[in-house]
């Protein structure tokens, strides 16, 4: 951060404290709404959903064999394999958001071409495992699955469309090895790793079940012991440390922003009048989905913060269709990411991609609102 930026930030913070009508009811209400939503998340979602989800994401980062998946996105792969793989691999390949762009550029320029690259780019942030798990914990399984399915379907459609539009740009660059020298493989059987992964997932699922608390506690403790057993007796110290480091990195990267996002979402509920929300996005019309789609395309949501914000918009009367639309464009696009897209994809491809995503998201949200 440059010195003058620091000065401006400090000066504006001072100006806000100096002039803000701190005693006005609306300010007090906003702060209390923000705090109460933070309280709700801390009580309901942090220990039972987010912490297990971070450990699961850490497991994926350390133990999933990624080179095999990446080979399937190489220049020689058949299209009908490359597209589906690209559309789901975001969930295991891109645990950290800063890995998405290098992977995208690699698939685009050296691998399977623009179509699969676009499919990967769109679903990468949308189907990350922590986002899906938090969505289901806060808004329910129907929303989490709707979000997942819509993202995968849209990504393949958008990829096919981009490939059709820009076929002549798709010159394969097959020289040099593709995805060679990947690290990260570990000397354990697939069974052990799968058991390790599923046990952690089961802990998270059991937390969400409504069964007798005593029984729940017994099951969860038993599963934690099993996870620890694998850690202590099966895995080497080196990999366990990596697992903890990845989990901790992810927590550091996401949790502070999520807390800020939850607070802001609470304020939104106190500040935005209910009739404005109902009028703009209350009904499941094409127009209201288009409004949600445009808002999501320009607005930047830090990882996971889209969940509390959409939750609060829905409690103000946002319809289910527009909410799903906002999930789809909110994650995939933002003003900063558009600027990067123009640089990486080019002046013609980037607008085509952005429009495709916005239109397909409108359709998906509208269908979700009508059918479910």
């Amino acid at each position: 951060m440059k010195e003058w930026v620091k000065f401006t930030l400090l000066a504006s913070a001072f100006a806000i404290f100096y002039f803000a009508p701190i005693d006005a009811p609306i300010v007090l209400q906003s702060i209390s709404a923000g705090l109460s939503l933070l309280h709700e998340y801390a009580r309901l979602h942090v220990l039972t959903c987010l912490v297990p989800a971070f450990f699961i994401a850490g497991t994926i980062a350390v133990y999933v064999k990624k080179d095999a998946v990446l080979q399937l996105l190489g220049p020689t792969t058949k299209k009908y394999i490359a597209y589906p793989i690209a559309s789901v691999s975001g969930g295991i390949l891109a645990v950290c958001s800063c890995t998405i762009l290098p992977l995208f550029t690699g698939i685009y320029k050296r691998g399977a071409g623009i179509g699969p690259a676009v499919a990967f780019l769109f679903t990468g942030p949308a189907i990350n495992i922590t986002a899906i798990l938090l969505t289901s914990s806060v808004l329910g399984w129907d929303f989490a699955i709707g979000r997942l399915v819509a993202a995968v379907v849209i990504s393949v459609l958008a990829g096919l469309l981009m490939a059709a539009l820009f076929r002549d740009h798709d010159r394969k660059n097959a020289d040099g090895e593709f995805a060679a020298g990947l690290g990260g493989d570990v000397p354990y059987s697939n069974f052990t790793i799968l058991a390790f992964f599923l046990l952690q997932l089961a802990i998270l699922v059991v937390f969400g079940l409504s069964v007798d608390p005593a029984l729940k506690a017994v099951i969860i403790i038993a599963m934690i012991v099993a996870v620890l057993g694998i850690v202590l007796f099966k895995f080497q110290k080196e990999h366990n440390l990596e697992w903890l480091r990845e989990t901790w990195d992810l927590t550091k990267k996401i949790l502070p922003y999520l807390f800020v996002g939850v607070f802001v979402a609470g304020i939104i509920e106190a500040v935005i009048p209910q009739d404005v929300v109902t009028a703009l996005v209350g009904q499941n019309t094409i127009l209201s989905n288009a409004i949600a789609s445009t808002f999501g395309a320009f607005m930047y949501f830090a990882t996971l913060t889209e969940v509390p914000i959409i939750q609060k918009l829905m409690s103000l009367g946002m319809g289910r269709g527009p909410a799903l639309t906002l999930f789809l464009t909110g994650n995939a696009l933002s003003l900063p990411s558009m600027i990067v897209l123009f640089k990486v994809m080019g002046k013609r491809q980037a607008p085509a991609y952005i429009l495709t995503i916005m239109v397909l998201s409108i359709i998906a949200g509208w269908l979700f609102g009508e059918l479910l």
Partner: protein
């Protein structure tokens, strides 16, 4: 010998840079460590999964943070190979 750490500047890339410096200190090496943060620069080495490690213009590792021991192995192996 020149060593380059490839990555846009996220946590993993910084961890790799730190570990590489530690490995070099332990090996008593004077090699310089450079960071490559722009996408085109990374693509030139064929890196897809960051962070990546390049020794004497050859990509020797990508897609994870190796331990200091592993980095030392990589350095020794690749220096001998280039002789």
């Amino acid at each position: 010998m020149t060593i380059k750490v490839l990555g846009p500047g996220c946590m993993n890339c910084r961890t790799l840079e730190q570990r590489t410096r530690d490995a070099l200190t332990q090996l008593d090496s004077q090699a310089s460590v450079e960071k490559v943060t722009d996408l085109d620069g990374m693509m030139a080495y064929g890196v897809m999964r960051t962070p990546g490690l390049v020794i004497d213009e050859r990509l020797v590792w990508q897609g994870g943070v190796p331990t200091v021991e592993k980095i030392k192995e990589l350095i020794t192996a690749n220096v001998q190979a280039s002789r």
